[in-house]
């Protein structure tokens, strides 16, 4: 039983995703475990064949308990699956664990260009031919862009533009800074046709590692499968056959709803009590004119299929993430009496669960996502949160959280910070209000944005800059 949250002592096995004899690779999801906060997939840290499932469905066991044994390929004996993660939180001295946390979250220096996936001669050729490497898909080892790729691209554009010899530019200008990806992750991603650029890394400096790729793969698999299931269930009805209820997206076996809600309430209660006990909150509020944002949104959605439409929340979240990047003092953690800024903005989104309770999974590197991507991830996250399929990193990585209660008709949110984060952004309902613009009073959509912030990490002035930045960003929705 892995530790899947800072205050997790035990977990309940909800579902086995494998059976004895199945082949598993390191990083594959093998079980679903119910913690007090959510149902979370457990990944295997070993490659091999499932030997024995030790813990039965519905059993609650302490962290560190062997869930299943895996026989290693060619090895004699079976070994405990998921054991490496067992008990680390309590076994290690707290200082050491804090040091590791800081290390993992070290920010990448601003403006630091990371090496491209093309060799220097290929980059040189690309510059000469005016080909943007970032736009190319590499065919080389590990997805590296090759000479041939660049030449092909240049040839494809030849009728339109003659190759232009461009003066050499600084690498930072031509090669977009990008996330580090380990060679293995790059290779596996290429094999599985996964775009590493869209992944969030769990390694040092946010490096994408193999496990991140495999997680993305299992997430990607899940969506189409669900769609297929729904379609299959729905088609007979559309064809006039007897109505069939689609399969419930929840796992079949779960703890009774009442107990579950109670456990979750207890967990939320502990965390919020700690927050109110330890964190000196200060609160700020600002009313933001949403006219431009809503106009832009309607305009855009009108042209699009329903699957591509954005909800206002997507814009608000993007703006909140960008503002957090502009004011880094609010994005990060207060630990060991000091503030450590987050390497990226991992935006926690408070999602209320049907039947009660709340989870705040993170959208990784939210400030780097276009609103449409953010929308996709938001939908995915909500679906999975309610289906009980959140991933561990999503539950532990948020650097700042947004609570949007607008859909519930609330005008103003006064939130409680999730420690060790230092800020919580509240978003209320978008409502029409009389507003004076250019000396004329008119009805315009507005939203009240609030900030609850940790006074140990920042002061009101910083918080005010954040809300101002948020407002500013929402006035230019096309740039979000």
């Amino acid at each position: 039983m892995p530790v899947l949250g800072a205050d997790m002592d035990e977990g309940t096995l909800l579902e086995w995703l494998v059976k004895p004899g199945d082949q598993v690779r390191r990083g594959d999801a093998i079980a679903v475990v119910d913690t007090a906060k959510s149902a979370i997939e457990v990944e295997s840290f070993h490659t091999g064949t499932i030997d024995r499932l030790v813990v039965g469905i519905g059993e609650t066991v302490p962290v560190g308990t062997v869930l299943a044994t895996i026989a290693e390929p060619g090895g004699e004996g079976a070994r405990a699956a998921a054991q490496p993660e067992a008990q680390p939180a309590r076994k290690r001295p707290p200082r050491k664990s804090a040091a590791r946390t800081r290390q993992r979250r070290q920010p990448v220096a601003a403006g630091e260009a990371l090496p491209g996936t093309a060799s220097p001669p290929v980059r040189h050729l690309a510059r000469q031919l005016g080909v943007d490497l970032a736009a190319l898909t590499g065919t080389g080892p590990g997805g590296a862009v090759t000479r041939a790729d660049v030449q092909r691209e240049a040839a494809a554009r030849a009728p339109a533009t003659k190759p232009v010899i461009r003066p050499p530019q600084p690498a930072a200008g031509t090669v977009a800074a990008r996330q580090p990806v380990t060679p293995l992750a790059r290779r596996v991603a290429a094999e599985l046709s996964i775009d590493v650029a869209a992944l969030t890394g769990s390694g040092p400096d946010g490096a994408v590692r193999e496990a991140d790729v495999r997680r993305a793969l299992s997430a990607a698999r899940q969506l189409p499968q669900q769609a297929v299931a729904e379609e299959a269930a729905v088609t007979p009805a559309a064809a006039g056959g007897p109505p069939t209820r689609p399969a419930a997206p929840q796992p079949a076996t779960r703890a009774p709803a009442g107990e579950r809600v109670q456990a979750m309430r207890q967990a939320i209660g502990r965390l919020m009590a700690r927050s109110k006990r330890e964190v000196p909150h200060y609160y700020l509020s600002n009313t933001v004119d949403m006219a431009s944002a809503m106009d832009w949104l309607h305009q855009r959605n009108r042209e699009l299929e329903v699957t591509e439409r954005l909800v206002p929340a997507a814009l608000l979240l993007k703006a909140a993430a960008l503002a957090a990047r502009q004011i880094p003092q609010l994005n990060g953690y207060w630990e060991d009496d000091h503030f450590t800024p987050g390497a990226a903005v991992h935006l926690g989104v408070a999602i209320s669960l049907r039947g009660g309770g709340l989870v705040t999974p993170a959208i990784h590197a939210a400030a780097d996502l276009r609103p449409a991507e953010l929308m996709t991830q938001l939908r995915d996250l909500v679906t999975r949160a309610r289906g009980g399929r959140l991933r561990r990193a999503e539950l532990t990585d948020a650097t700042i959280t947004v609570t949007n209660l607008g859909d519930q008709g609330v005008e103003t949110v006064f939130g409680v910070i999730y420690p060790p984060q230092v800020a919580l952004v509240g978003i209320g309902k978008i409502i029409e209000r009389p507003v004076a613009v250019g000396g004329l009073i008119g009805a315009r959509p507005v939203v009240v944005t609030t900030l609850s912030a940790d006074h140990r990490a920042s002061d009101g002035y910083t918080g005010a800059r954040y809300l101002a930045a948020l407002s500013e960003l929402l006035q230019r929705p096309e740039e979000l």
Binding site: A86, P88, P183
Partner: protein, 355 residues
């Protein structure tokens, strides 16, 4: 001719002695034998002297003194001064004489007291031992074994604490061994003596007192492959010689945290066993190299580079190295300990790699 006859007689005698490999082993009692690294080394030298009359030991204080590290204690009495040959403090001359004697048909074991003194013989090792076969177009082979104590950790300060194995591994034409276990101390020498080319054996000074048990019939071991001393799946710790114990200790510490480290003892530092290294890294995707040498231009640099060359697309974390601090090794215990790779630092590097 009488010369010829005498020589023929010697050849015949040699054929007899080399043929009786097993009879020269340890005592006939069954069950494991309690033994120290020093004794294992001595047993290996004794066996070589018994099995092949071309073999002799020469070096500073190997005879009456019994060897600076007491490895050859008692051998003078057993084999006499011709074959247990005390030399003047003339490293270049006696190492070069070892090369010449090897060319002349002998199988010398040359002991250089400590690695620092080997620098006085570096010309002979590099310009003669390593090159003669090649620059003679294959005519002059040099079946010579040079043994020396290496490494720090005994508070003997800057001039007696070098780990220069990495330097020697730079040189084509020689082979470099680092016995880190009793089995290897007992078994590498004979195999090295069978090699037609010069072999350097580095014995870490901190190992001589290491105690353990050996099978009563322990003997020659293979010197072509690295050994997995502890299998594991999460990362690969690569090391050799005096740091093997520290790497194993670190692996134990990591195991308590649920990190399953594989520990590879390189054993033969030149030529490196790339196959074993890469097979492990391809399984674990993470490598930490532990090398008591200084980091810059070290053996650890070589191993790291090879991993990058041959297993790049299998790496899921940057290769980590734990080496000695780039200072002459200081005398004071706490400073020396700080300068050398330790289990804690190895475990920390492993945790970084695992992330």
């Amino acid at each position: 001719m009488s010369t010829q006859a005498a020589q023929n007689g010697r050849e015949a005698r040699r054929a007899r002695t080399t043929g009786s490999a097993s009879s020269a082993g340890q005592a006939s009692q069954a069950g494991p034998v309690k033994i120290s690294y020093r004794e294992a080394m001595r047993a290996a030298i004794r066996e070589a002297l018994q099995r092949d009359d071309r073999v002799f030991l020469m070096g500073e204080d190997v005879g009456r003194y019994g060897g600076c590290f007491a490895v050859s204690l008692g051998l003078l009495e057993e084999f006499g001064p011709e074959r247990i040959r005390d030399t003047p403090l003339s490293e270049s001359a006696f190492v070069g004489a070892g090369i010449g004697a090897a060319m002349g048909g002998m199988r010398p074991i040359v002991e250089i007291m400590t690695v620092n003194f080997s620098l006085l013989a570096l010309d002979q090792i590099m310009n003669n031992a390593a090159t003669l076969l090649h620059m003679s177009g294959g005519q002059c082979s040099v079946p010579l074994v040079i043994r020396m104590a290496t490494g720090a950790g005994r508070q003997v300060a800057a001039q007696h604490s070098h780990s220069l194995e990495g330097w020697y591994t730079h040189i084509p034409g020689i082979k470099v061994l680092a016995p880190a276990t009793l089995e290897d101390a007992r078994g590498m020498l004979w195999t090295a003596l069978q090699d037609p080319d010069p072999v350097l054996i580095f014995e870490h000074g901190s190992l001589y007192n290491m105690q353990g048990t050996l099978a009563p019939d322990a003997g020659a071991v293979d010197i072509s492959a690295a050994a997995i001393r502890r299998p594991g799946g999460d990362l690969t710790l690569l090391t050799y010689g005096g740091t093997l114990g520290k790497a194993l200790a670190a692996a134990g510490e990591l195991a308590a945290d649920g990190i399953d480290a594989e520990v590879i003892d390189l054993r033969t530092l030149r030529p490196l066993d790339d196959a074993t290294i890469m097979a492990s890294v391809r399984r674990t995707h993470r490598a930490v190299i532990v090398d008591e040498g200084w980091r810059s231009g070290s053996l650890s640099a070589e191993v790291s580079a090879r991993i990058t060359e041959q297993a790049f697309y299998d790496l899921d974390a940057p290769v980590e190295r734990v080496c000695s601090a780039e200072v002459p090794v200081p005398y004071a215990r706490h400073l020396e300990e700080a300068a050398l790779p330790q289990a804690g630092g190895i475990a920390a590097a492993a945790r970084r790699a695992v992330g």
